[in-house]
């Protein structure tokens, strides 16, 4: 059980890091939309075009790594409890 949880923790940390790196390694907050600019040929005003797009930010990476750390730490306690109950029976 300890090994399983630790594997999940490492997997979660790696997945968080990979997703964050693959989607731009943005050091901003997570966004659910991006603004693209389109120039009007007559007025030459650049107008915003808002598109729905998920852009993971540093907050999501931190959340993923914190979750992995919590799992890793938690795994130690879960294993100990299991060992005790096995020993007493």
């Amino acid at each position: 059980m300890r090994k399983f949880l630790q594997t999940v923790a490492v997997g979660l940390a790696a997945a968080s890091l990979l997703v964050w790196l693959a989607l731009g390694s943005n050091v901003i907050w997570t966004r659910t939309s991006v603004t693209k600019w389109q120039k009007d040929p007559v007025t030459e005003i650049e107008g915003p075009v808002i598109e729905k797009k998920f852009v993971p930010g540093i907050d999501l990476l931190v959340l993923g790594l914190a979750g992995a750390l919590a799992l890793f730490v938690g795994s130690v306690f879960v294993s100990k409890t299991e060992n005790k109950s096995i020993g007493s029976s």
Partner: protein
């Protein structure tokens, strides 16, 4: 003969009056290009956003650009930032309170340092800005470009366009938006970049 001359004179006078008359431009943009960019640059965070819900009317006289008058309205709910939580906070009663104050307005009253070169006029425009229920007099450097007969190229209708650009800063504390609070995340000074075009049909 006398009557014809008189008619010609009257028509000429009316024509001159019509040409010299100020033109009213409508800034409700069917193409949705008109926008305001707002930027806050605080030590911990830098936030950029846009607003597109723009309307209003401006009276502009190409022969007397300094007499520009009018009102521009921005729908508070159109303020947008990419992070949904930040947007929710921005619209909430803790910040802009868009439910209570649905409009941000600027009413131009006078212009100084008016300089015109060709179709482009620059001026320091003074007017009343209303935001978050507070109205203050501010002066902003404004660039106005009069595009005669250019509406057709944009919408297919005969008319003129007036492009207005302005870059200026306001203080959120002046408008009662969390004065003195959270300045490490949202700066007191907010930079505004306005780029809008108004149309006047012939």
């Amino acid at each position: 003969m006398k009557n014809t001359s008189l008619r010609m004179l009257i028509l000429g006078l009316v024509g001159t009056t019509l040409v010299a008359a100020p033109i009213e431009f409508d800034f409700k943009d069917p193409k949705g290009v008109n926008n305001v960019i707002f930027k806050t640059d605080a030590p911990l965070e830098s936030i950029n956003g846009t607003a597109t819900g723009i309307s209003g009317k401006v009276t502009f006289d190409p022969d007397n650009p300094g007499a520009v008058k009018g009102k521009i309205v921005v729908q508070s709910s159109s303020l947008h930032v990419g992070n949904p939580m930040q947007k929710e906070h921005l619209h909430s009663d803790k910040w802009l309170d868009v439910a209570k104050y649905p409009e941000i307005t600027f009413e131009a009253e006078s212009a100084k340092n008016v300089k015109t070169q060709g179709d482009v006029t620059t001026a320091d425009v003074t007017g009343k800005m209303s935001l978050h229920g507070v109205t203050r007099t501010i002066t902003a450097p404004v660039k106005m470009t009069f595009l005669k007969d250019k509406l057709k190229a944009r919408t297919g209708k005969e008319g003129d366009l007036l492009v207005v650009r302005a870059n200026f800063k306001i203080k959120r504390s002046d408008f009662g938006i969390n004065p003195g609070q959270l300045e490490d995340k949202v700066s007191d000074e907010i930079e505004l970049n306005l780029s809008i075009a108004g149309a006047a049909q012939h």
